[in-house]
């Protein structure tokens, strides 16, 4: 049931020194898969923890964005743009936390130091859901309405291209990828949705 389908890879000629990768995620019927996270994990290289920050806002009783990919070690702030309170929590094994009911922006951001999908919820608004996808790579993108996500500034080397999307029941097999310095590739990944 959770078998991966074969990936169709279409390769185009590279452009500059740093390679770019454009990935389109489609489902079995050819429809665009939005809010899918595509990310390329370099093989054989240890990457330092990122000291970056990210924001997961709360507007109109929704998390914005719905899917937030971050590099491992990123500190994410959870500002509350609504005029009602929210209580943000996660019971996911990658990061368990909770921010008691609050308004405005809490003082401390939450640092996601382990790779994995962290499912967010608000304990007083059951319908509010969001995902923080913690990956061990700085090369990631969220697909747009056309199912496209672009990865840039990739150095030459071997990568493992992975895809995650909310409805996913099992992770598709990673796509091995070797990039030259100025490669500019486009990929189409078909997932079972």
């Amino acid at each position: 049931m959770t078998r991966t389908l074969p990936l169709l890879l279409l390769l185009f000629a590279p452009l500059a020194r740093a390679a770019t990768l454009s990935v389109t995620v489609r489902d079995a019927r050819g429809g665009a898969v939005t809010d899918a996270v595509v990310y390329a994990v370099p093989e054989g290289r240890e990457l330092p923890l990122a000291k970056k920050t990210a924001v997961m806002d709360q507007k109109n009783r929704m998390f914005v964005p719905h899917v937030l990919p971050v590099q491992t070690g990123t500190a994410v702030r959870f500002p509350n743009s609504d005029d009602i309170r929210h209580q943000v929590y996660s019971f996911s094994s990658a990061k368990q936390f909770q921010i008691p009911l609050y308004k405005g922006t809490p003082a401390n951001p939450v640092v996601f130091d382990r790779a994995g999908v962290v499912t967010l919820g608000c304990s007083i608004h059951d319908r509010m859901t969001a995902y923080v996808v913690v990956v061990d790579t700085p090369y990631f993108a969220t697909t747009d309405k056309k199912g496209r996500g672009a990865l840039a500034s990739l150095g030459a080397g071997k990568y493992s291209l992975r895809v995650w999307y909310p409805e996913m029941t099992s992770e598709p097999a990673p796509v091995p990828l070797t990039l030259a310095a100025s490669d500019d590739k486009e990929l189409v990944v078909t997932v079972r949705k």
Partner: protein, 799 residues
């Protein structure tokens, strides 16, 4: 016989009972049907209520469980991955929603934790169908049979906020659940799982009833869709409905609803009782109405019946108030009244006819007797006398025969009228029959009786004038008085009758009853009744008395005299029973017997050489027997005796009864050669002219003239002498009877009398002795000197 009232009541009751029974049966049948339908309906509704209740409970529990699963602390505990924490949280939260069992199941269907002592941890969830359903629909709620008990299981995901695990809560469907429904439906409820070892999983019934129900249901063993059945628990009937529950695991759990038929029947029973009560009231009302109605009908009928009984007793005075009713009863009453009047009139008529003589209009013997009896009762109280006179007319038969019956009737009417005129109003005059009249009067003393008799005699001294004919009427009256002669009416009448016969016999106008006469009369009656048997019993016998030829001294005639050797009264002489034989009509028989006997004897004597003529007396009635001459001729020729050897003696009065007829018979006899003699001459009234016409040969002077025949008694000698001379002048032989002494014998001899008879010569002798006597005296001229010794001569009245 039942009364009308009772019949009407019985009928009313019978009809009503039938009707009411029919109604009660109809009500019962309809009630039973309705009750069954209503029970079935209640069961169906109850089953629906139970379904709804379980579904509602499922929904409620599902909501509760989902809320519980969303509980932040619970999710936090589950996320802790610490099993003891998870189990304690699971128990805690299961307790919150009153769940009996709780499971935490991983998304792949493995039990992570349970509240059942972790029996299922690490194993696949025991109700995979529920998990499957939950996987498809996000949650599932269903009834299942778990560990032998019915449960409502709810499986919901634990959202964090995406599903991370399943939590499953089981709620036992227990007595409390069923009791809740029971309180709504009044039905007993159970959950039934035919597949289970103990199929009755839960029930509102008591323990003992559960056992019985299980046994009963096992016998019926229904399956599939709804099934109705009637069972018995503790002898009480129940209607049950088995209704399958929808289960997720496909087990055949059914709800079993039951309704007590007795309970359901109770309102109908009450209705039936009410109808029964009303029926009884109606019945009582109808009976009362029937009684009143019947009384309305039967009470006049009772009155009529009572009236009819009065009429039956002879009371015709009306007591009926005849209401002017137009109905049948009114008509009956008026018809009844008419009938009563008609009966009264007719009875009056019949009474008149029964108590009065139609010819004279006088009371008859019956009424006379009644009045006498009635008067005697009064007289007994007042110590007065009741006198009675019986009167019999002399020679009435003669008048009747001579002047005709019509004249005779007129005469009787006239006599009745004269009697009535002669007597007081208070006296009773009655015609007792024929020419016999009765008079009854009340008297203060005995002398009044003779006064009345004399007044009656005086009244008849004046001849009656009828149709230009003057009739002289004489009567014989017998008088008897209460209490002098008799104590009761019947005896009084009998004794007046006896006195009347005495008067007749003595030729007096009236006679008063002599005490003792009645006993004589009784003896007469006894003799009368025995007379007819005397011949058959051979009790009659003949004696013979010789008649002597005065000149020669020879016995020439023998007079046959009949004797009756009565077994009780001894020898009876003819004057004691011959008049009775004449009265009773037996005289002809006796005469014929005497004739046969005498002719036979005479024949025997003649054959043995004794020359004799036999003399036989004839009664006056014999002269009316036209067959007699032929009979005598037959006898004579039978015996072979010449007719001249028979003398028939007839009294003067006998001939005078009907001279013309007697004359014809006498001539007939004379023509046959028989000798005829006039007996008892001188006592009657026959004239010589009359005598001259009779064809007789001999004349017997009555013994009353001969008995005292002495030389001194000149009167009798004159009569005897002139009679002998007269007889001789008419060419007749003259015989004297009653010769009892020599003096008479000598006088008769001197006067030239032809024959003599009497005790001086011989008393009457039996036939056997007479033969001997004849032998001794034949030819003895001096027999007068040898009268039979030792005999006291007495008066013998020959027939």
């Amino acid at each position: 016989m039942r009364s009308f009232q009772a019949k009407l009541v019985y009928l009313t009751v019978a009809v009503l009972v039938l009707l009411l029974t029919a109604i009660l049966i109809a009500v019962h049948v309809a009630g039973e049907r309705t009750m069954r339908r209503s029970v079935a309906n209640e069961l169906r509704v109850g089953s629906g209520v139970l379904d709804r209740s379980l579904a509602g409970r499922g929904n409620m529990l599902s909501v509760a469980v989902r809320a519980m699963a969303a509980d932040f602390a619970f999710r936090e505990a589950v996320a802790s991955a610490d099993r003891p924490t998870i189990i304690s949280a699971l128990s805690n939260h299961a307790g919150r929603v009153n769940a009996s069992a709780a499971f935490l199941i991983s998304l792949d269907g493995t039990v992570l934790a349970d509240t059942l002592n972790e029996r299922y941890v690490g194993r696949p969830f025991p109700l995979p169908s529920l998990a499957g359903e939950a996987g498809r629909r996000g949650e599932s709620t269903s009834i299942v049979s778990f560990e032998g008990r019915p449960y409502l299981f709810v499986v919901v995901p634990i959202l964090a906020p995406r599903p991370i695990d399943w939590v499953c809560m089981g709620f036992a469907i227990d007595d409390a659940v069923l009791n809740e429904v029971r309180s709504l439906t009044q039905l007993d409820l159970s959950v039934w799982n035919p597949a289970a070892e103990n199929p009755l999983m839960v029930s509102t019934l008591r323990q003992q009833e559960r056992g019985e129900l299980t046994a009963q249901m096992r016998r019926i063993a229904p399956s599939g869709s709804d099934a109705n059945a009637t069972i018995e628990i503790g002898n009480d009937p129940y209607q049950v409905l088995l209704h399958p529950l929808v289960t997720a695991d496909g087990s055949h759990i059914q709800t079993l609803l039951q309704r007590s038929i007795d309970d359901a029947r109770r309102p109908y029973r009450r209705l039936e009782l009410q109808i029964f009560g009303l029926s009884l009231l109606a019945l009582i009302a109808a009976v009362i109405a029937a009684i009143f109605f019947a009384r309305g009908v039967s009470s006049p009928l009772h009155k009529l019946a009572a009236e009819a009984q009065q009429i039956e007793k002879g009371d015709y005075s009306s007591r009926l108030e005849i209401r002017q009713q137009k109905d049948e009863i009114g008509k009956l009453a008026s018809a009844f009244d008419k009938m009563r009047k008609a009966i009264a009139e007719r009875e009056e008529q019949i009474w008149m006819q029964a108590t009065h003589d139609s010819l004279t209009g006088l009371p008859n013997r019956t009424l006379f007797f009644d009045r006498v009896a009635y008067s005697i009762v009064g007289a007994k109280r007042n110590s007065t006398l009741v006198g009675m006179i019986m009167m019999d007319l002399d020679r009435f038969k003669e008048i009747n025969d001579t002047l005709g019956h019509h004249f005779g009737d007129q005469l009787l009417i006239e006599i009745g009228r004269r009697l009535r005129q002669t007597l007081r109003e208070s006296d009773t005059v009655a015609r007792l029959g024929g020419d016999e009249f009765g008079v009854m009067f009340l008297a203060e003393e005995e002398s009044r009786a003779t006064d009345v008799a004399q007044r009656i005699a005086a009244a008849f001294e004046t001849p009656l004038l009828l149709g230009g004919v003057s009739i002289e009427v004489n009567g014989s009256m017998g008088i008897a008085l209460y209490p002098v002669h008799a104590d009761d009416a019947a005896t009084l009448m009998k004794r007046a009758d006896i006195a009347m016969y005495d008067a007749k016999k003595n030729h007096t106008q009236y006679a008063i009853y002599e005490p003792g006469r009645d006993e004589h009369s009784l003896r007469r009656l006894a003799i009368l009744s025995e007379l007819r048997h005397a011949i058959a019993r051979d009790e009659l016998d003949l004696h013979y008395q010789p008649k002597i030829d005065v000149a020669s001294g020879k016995a020439v005639h023998a007079e046959a005299l009949v004797r009756w050797r009565h077994p009780v009264h001894g020898d009876l002489k003819p004057d004691e029973f011959i008049p009775l034989a004449e009265q009773s009509g037996n005289i002809g028989m006796i005469t014929k017997w005497v004739l046969r006997k005498a002719i036979t004897h005479c024949g025997e004597w003649n054959v043995s050489g004794v020359e004799l003529t036999v003399a036989v007396n004839l009664s006056a009635l014999d002269l009316f027997d036209a067959e007699l001459p032929t009979y005598i001729s037959g006898l004579l020729s039978e015996v072979g005796l010449p007719p001249s050897k028979l003398v028939l003696e007839i009294t003067e009065s006998a001939v005078m009864k009907d001279p013309a007829y007697a004359l014809r018979i006498l001539r007939d006899l004379k023509n046959r050669g028989v000798t005829l003699a006039i007996d008892d001459y001188g006592t009657g009234y026959s004239s010589l002219a009359h005598l001259k016409r009779l064809p007789v040969d001999e004349l017997k002077i009555d013994k009353s003239f001969v008995l005292n025949l002495r030389n001194a008694a000149t009167d009798d000698i004159v009569i005897v002498r002139s009679t002998i001379e007269l007889g001789h002048n008419m060419g007749l032989r003259v015989i004297a009877e009653g010769v009892e002494n020599e003096e008479a014998w000598q006088i008769l001899k001197r006067l030239g009398c032809d024959m003599a008879q009497g005790y001086f010569i011989s008393k009457p002798l039996p036939a056997s002795e007479f033969g001997a006597w004849m032998t001794n005296h034949t030819g003895n001229s001096n027999l007068a000197r040898n009268p039979p010794a030792g005999e006291t001569p007495s008066v013998i009245e020959p027939l």
